[in-house]
């Protein structure tokens, strides 16, 4: 959960939130953190009512077969939107900062091959790889933030709420949608060994992601000022480039490691959910064709739907929050409400 939220957020959220909320952008992340916890509770209580079923299964029970399938297919599209956007962010990052001459398809195909391997081997492999990457990820972030401290000017965080409370709330919509990606849990609930610990560990994960993201926001704003941070696509990468401690410099390789490894895990999870949901939905015996089809659907559209990084920025700021909040908060919320109304139906599946 931590990785799904933070892997892409670290580079993009500082620029997006600072553009709207300026020096108080860090507050928008804390608001998103609070909403994220509410979101998790909602998902947890929904999953707890059907501990052995995933969303496609209990959506059919609650909404009827047809509507249930429509909703499930909607979620497949939702995960596809996430993975396509992440793939585009991934190639934009590498093309803009590291390898401008490499065609985007090379990065996307490479990443999808790795993700496909993980999907074929199952969710456990993805989780184990995540366990391996996570400490390195956190350590790299901690090193970067610690080395940035001496260049921070806390005066850049003043005046507090200069653009007003509304701008902070507006800025928080994007990180709220980011934190809401923990909705993947409604598809993975039955696969979790100790389901009763989901809430406790999930809250810890969200708090850790939120605090880390808040620090990253504070670091970029205090070093570059709110206006310049708001103008940048990848403010945190620029911060890593700025760090110079005695002879230690050019630490952007750490950001590249963080970014690539985090994205591999995130895309693998999304790809896994897309594949498994479609396989179950249509009761398919062979998932190879679904894998291949989805791989093509992931590789080709990023370059057709988004002509430039500007399009990605526009999508993330203006379109993504409404899509995200619908699938992450609204639909699970409505389904939970339905489970409360239709108590009898639900009780049978405990």
């Amino acid at each position: 959960m931590f990785m799904i939220v933070i892997s892409t957020a670290i580079l993009l959220i500082p620029g997006i939130t600072a553009e709207k909320a300026a020096e108080s952008a860090w507050l928008s992340v804390l608001i998103a953190l609070a909403v994220g916890i509410v979101n998790l509770m909602l998902i947890y209580y929904l999953g707890k009512r059907f501990p052995k079923l995933t969303l496609p299964e209990y959506a059919g029970i609650l909404l009827g077969k047809t509507l249930g399938k429509v909703l499930t297919f909607g979620y497949v599209l939702f995960f596809l939107i996430i993975s396509i956007t992440v793939l585009r962010e991934f190639t934009d990052f590498l093309n803009m900062n590291l390898m401008p001459e490499t065609p985007p398809y090379v990065f996307q195909t490479g990443l999808m091959i790795v993700a496909a391997y993980a999907v074929v081997k199952g969710i456990e492999v993805i989780v184990r790889v995540n366990q391996f990457i996570l400490p390195l990820f956190i350590l790299s972030l901690a090193v970067l933030l610690a080395l940035a401290v001496r260049d921070m000017d806390l005066n850049n965080l003043q005046p507090f709420l200069d653009k007003g409370v509304l701008s902070v709330l507006d800025a928080s919509l994007v990180p709220i949608a980011w934190f809401g990606q923990i909705v993947v849990l409604v598809f993975l609930f039955p696969k979790v060994n100790q389901a009763e610990d989901i809430l406790k560990n999930g809250i810890l994960g969200i708090i850790a992601a939120g605090i880390l993201l808040t620090f990253i926001n504070i670091a970029t704003i205090t070093v570059f000022g709110p206006e310049y941070t708001g103008e940048m696509y990848f403010a945190f990468l620029y911060l890593a480039k700025y760090i110079k401690f005695i002879t230690i410099q050019r630490l952007e390789f750490l950001v590249i490691f963080i970014w690539v490894s985090g994205i591999v895990v995130k895309v693998a999870v999304m790809y896994y959910l897309e594949t498994m949901t479609l396989v179950r939905m249509f009761s398919l015996k062979n998932k190879k064709y679904v894998l291949l089809g989805l791989a093509l659907l992931n590789i080709i559209p990023p370059n057709l739907l988004f002509e430039s990084p500007l399009d990605v920025g526009y999508f993330l700021k203006n379109i993504w929050p409404s899509i995200g909040l619908t699938f992450e908060l609204l639909i699970p919320g409505l389904l939970l409400l339905l489970t409360i109304i239709e108590k009898k139906k639900v009780r049978r599946y405990h």
């Binding site: 900062n97 390898m99 990065f107 490479g110 391997y117 081997k121 003043q158 070093v223 591999v264």
Partner: protein, 405 residues
Amino acid sequence: MKKLRFRNIGTFSVLFSLLLFCSGCWSSKEVETLAFVTLSSFDYTQINGQDFWTAATLTMKPPSSQGQGQGNTSGSNNNMEQLIIGQGSTMQVAIRNYTAKLPAVPFYGYATGFIIGEEAAKKKAPEIIEHYARYWQTRPRDIILVCKGEAKEILKAGGTTDRSFSEEVSQFIDLQATNSGKSYGMYFSTFVSWLTSTDRDAVLPQIKIIPLEPDNKKSGDNPKTEGSIIEGLGVFQAGHLVGWLDQEQTIGFLLLTQKINKGPFSIPVQKDKTMFNYFLTHSTYKVKPVVTNQKISYQVTIETKGEIDENNGLPLTKEDIAQLEPVISERLKKILTATVNQAKTYQADFLGFSEKLHKQDPKTFHALGSEWRKAFVNANVEITVKAKIISTGRLKEKLVINPTD
């Protein structure tokens, strides 16, 4: 089962490593095919109403050609760097035109920064900065300088020592510019941050050409007669160069905007027709915006510490020091007042007073709207200086030299 899982994770790791390290082969380049750019410059003018850009760059010479042709260079780059110039109707065309003169691909990843010429700084600084900020090889700690006249002349003149010019300039900005009181150690990201802020103006270190001392001139048919040093500051208002700060005003800028703890700044002071030197080693500053009846004023308090070791015969007893401190305070106050007045003349708040007002009293600042510079010009600035002498070097009151008979 466990074995199988580890094998899966192992295979995944190999695939992941391949993705991480091999996917960029398209963008790979051999070192021999790169021309390492070390320092660039941009000049701008208009000819018959048309934009005319000059972009110049110093690139590292290939090791095989370094050291050849001593005394036969166009600049002071001591055979380590070569100057290439291109011209055109846009910045990019000018860059492309100098690139055409290079057999290798210019690589800016290890560049130290760039210099902006006077005309370019006056008319096109925001455009240059934006262009540079968008470029993927730009680093936030790149240095940025401004000069009077054409910047390419600075690259031609080179430095004053035997080191490469770019190294000389970047080391001075890193270590000496602020600490010596000669200029200010400005980096690209800080400059952009000041330019984009809504409540302050910016400065850039000034680089200028000086005649070289005979010892530093190169022997041979074409001796080096000029070099470049960093001294003073260029003042920007709304992103455009509007003027310059001399040596004393630069010290004033530093005292009004920085906490000095690495000096010393050498400040000549006069008492009863005797000149002595105050070595300012530490200082703190406090700028307090005061708003009374919608009138803005600033109370500035500067506290300095320093030593006197060039006393020019002045006795340095405890009583003498007590008398010298007010004289030093008065001298510093004069420097600071001159700096504030210069800022008001340029209508450029590079001292960050409006920024302080914005942070302390955002309501008043927002009420000013776009008139915040005007408000700074009209504001009364009250300066208080408390200078302390904390050391007289390794000697006590006075070194008594026995007169000859």
